[in-house]
Subunit: 366 residues, 2 copies
DNA sequence: ATCCGGTTGGTAAGCGCTTTCCGTAAGGCC
DNA sequence: GGCCTTACGGAAAGCGCTTACCAACCGGAT
């Protein structure tokens, strides 16, 4: 008999109770530290627990009125379109920013004994809302990256379960957490115009509907104009937060023979990465020929040549803050509808034309 | 009355049944497509469901004998030691390889309506095993990155729940999924020695206990020696899979005035990244002065200057394969104890001394 | 010794589902 | 029309846990 293989029998609380010669209530009380059981009861239970390798079933605990201790996280997976060949084939799958956010969420969640339940959706998935709703019922609360749900469904769902959005917009039933887009972009614009003297500047966007990208766009444009420089704008500057998208914008502009501005502020670092790459393919060197900047300050930005000038967001802290906000809603009944904005910092490195810091490319706060 | 705020009442199957004028059994049958209910019954249930916005509770479903539809994933979070200053402060938190694996798992899981439940552990966490065990009881099966559990506990846990390891070793009760370390490193060694004529080569390790790193080390060393070149080895070549670790190894060697080999094969791309960075800080240029290679072929490797020569693993496929193996164990009772090895490919780019591909840095399969 | 507040353990209800087991209605055949 | 087969709906059990609720028991005061 090959019972060694199929011995997937997980001990239940009844097994423990029988083994310890007590009732299941006592076992539960010992495990949850309720009502201070007598030392010898506690000892016998603990021994039975270790002996049997008992771990309480999460589903049963959750069902019994308590928390699931799970926070659902939804990220948007970019649609795999790779027009520029296989170079970017799965680059699009390297979502550094969301992954870092998730790590921030996870670290914060761990302190409360929560776990992350992750689901990704791609936009053209007709079925995405079903999956998000299913995720909702496996979780105590939801953290949504980007805009993965249309406002109507968001509202509906937020009546059933606490929701925190990242890079979304706050609603009466929903809390939002984000970085200070406007402040960061204004500082960047001032630096590029006032310190470097650039006269023509463009903003390379993220997703067209992204509130973050929209905010960055308008703050940058306004500040550039206010500083007396000219803001190059138009639909051809629409990227998608990915390196491939940034590269594509450059390729198109060059193919059309359009004149490039003196500086390009990208919606995020990944886009900037693609832009720098595409420019170098055409013999244009950053920052010698043109300045390029990013947003986020993802870790790899610190290993690129040239070192990327960017606006730093406290990425992990964004995630941690989102979790704490959600936790407060779940456990303390904290009301939703807040808008939490974390500060951003201009990081001047090389790609804007600042001189390389000799010896070590250490970040310089602006 | 502010009931608008606290109306967190999630409808249950009873509400639906009442609304539709049927029994809860019928509702369940409609939702799970069992026993082909009569059209009008189905219609009334469906209407009640949409009207109330009902979504079945995951915990209750799971408890009722079915699956949780959750796969637990444990990653090892590097201990935050940043000896080289704040440059690498949270670079260590950018775990590109694990994150890509997870994406692969997630995509595969989604096809089966599973979700990823993620937990990270850092090695010095005394409490890590409790957390992994808790995760186990919230999941139908576990996928473990690295070696996050000692063999004894692994065995114990694997008797209760199916486990697939990545980059571990397969055991009688556990299936392992990994890339072909030996094959990839042999091809790399041959290329470096035979095609480039390097005479002294070193391997910069990952974690000392990582089976992957050990396999890469010995395959590389053996092939280098077999090809007649000399293999530089020793404890000073111990990295930790992170850029910071790679940089540190170089810093120490240079500080000691030790002669560098002609080529350094790193345990993974992240290490190589740190190595290249550290070398350039000391005026050593890759590949002019020294050759450096990676392993994994993470997407950013394609944007580095110089383009990184590396051994490509099908990263996302590793994740997807791990999930499918686990799923087979969970649902079809597939026995454990398999060892699944996916092929690797040598990718010759620039950092080994190969000429840059003109125009486009496209991967060249070896 | 009797009574009484304070503890501690056991019993049982119930969380929201799935599923088995019946009962009944509907349809096919003689 | 009566009988058998088949199809579907409903009642109820039960998944593994938490937590009232209640019984028993402790020591101290009377």
């Amino acid at each position: 008999m090959d019972e060694a293989e199929t011995a997937q029998a997980q001990p239940t609380i009844y097994d423990v109770a029988r083994e310890a010669g007590v009732s299941i209530a006592s076992v539960s009380r010992v495990l949850n530290e309720r009502r201070n059981p007598r030392p010898d009861t506690k000892a016998r239970v603990m021994q039975a627990v270790t002996e049997l390798g008992f771990i309480p079933d999460g589903a049963a605990r959750a069902l019994s009125g308590r928390l699931k201790e799970v926070v659902g996280v939804v990220i948007r997976r970019p649609t795999p379109t790779s027009p520029s060949g296989d170079l970017y084939a799965d680059e699009e799958e390297s979502l550094q920013f969301p992954d870092l956010i998730n790590r921030g969420i996870e670290v914060a969640a761990q302190r409360r004994d929560f776990n992350l339940l992750v689901s990704s959706v791609d936009v053209d998935d007709h079925d995405y809302s079903r999956r998000i709703f299913a995720l909702a019922r496996k979780s105590d609360g939801l953290i949504l990256h980007d805009q993965v749900l249309d406002p109507e469904q968001l509202t509906r769902l937020s009546r059933q379960i606490p929701i925190v959005t990242l890079a979304g917009v706050q609603t009466p039933t929903t809390t939002n957490v984000g970085g200070d887009n406007a402040g960061g972009m204004r500082a960047l614009a001032r630096h590029l115009v006032a310190d470097h003297g650039f006269r023509t500047l463009a903003y390379l966007g993220g997703h067209a509907t992204s509130p973050d990208s929209i905010a960055r766009h308008s703050a940058f444009g306004a500040e550039v104009t206010a500083a007396g420089a000219s803001f190059v704008d138009g639909p051809q500057w629409q990227g998608n937060y990915c390196a491939a998208g940034g590269a594509q914008v450059i390729e198109r502009l060059l193919a059309e023979g359009a004149p490039l501005p003196e500086a390009i502020a990208c919606a995020n670092d990944q886009s900037a990465l693609g832009v720098v790459h595409a420019l170098s393919q055409h013999g244009l060197e950053v920052p010698r020929d043109i300045a390029v900047t990013g947003f986020d300050d993802i870790p790899v930005a610190r290993h690129l040549r040239p070192l990327l000038t960017t606006v730093r967001q406290p990425i992990q802290q964004l995630g941690a803050t989102a979790f704490e906000a959600l936790y407060a809603m779940v456990c303390d009944g904290e009301p939703a509808g807040q808008d939490i904005i974390l500060p951003t910092t201009l990081i001047r490195r090389e790609s804007c034309g600042c001189l390389p810091t000799p010896g070590l490319a250490r970040a310089v706060a602006g």
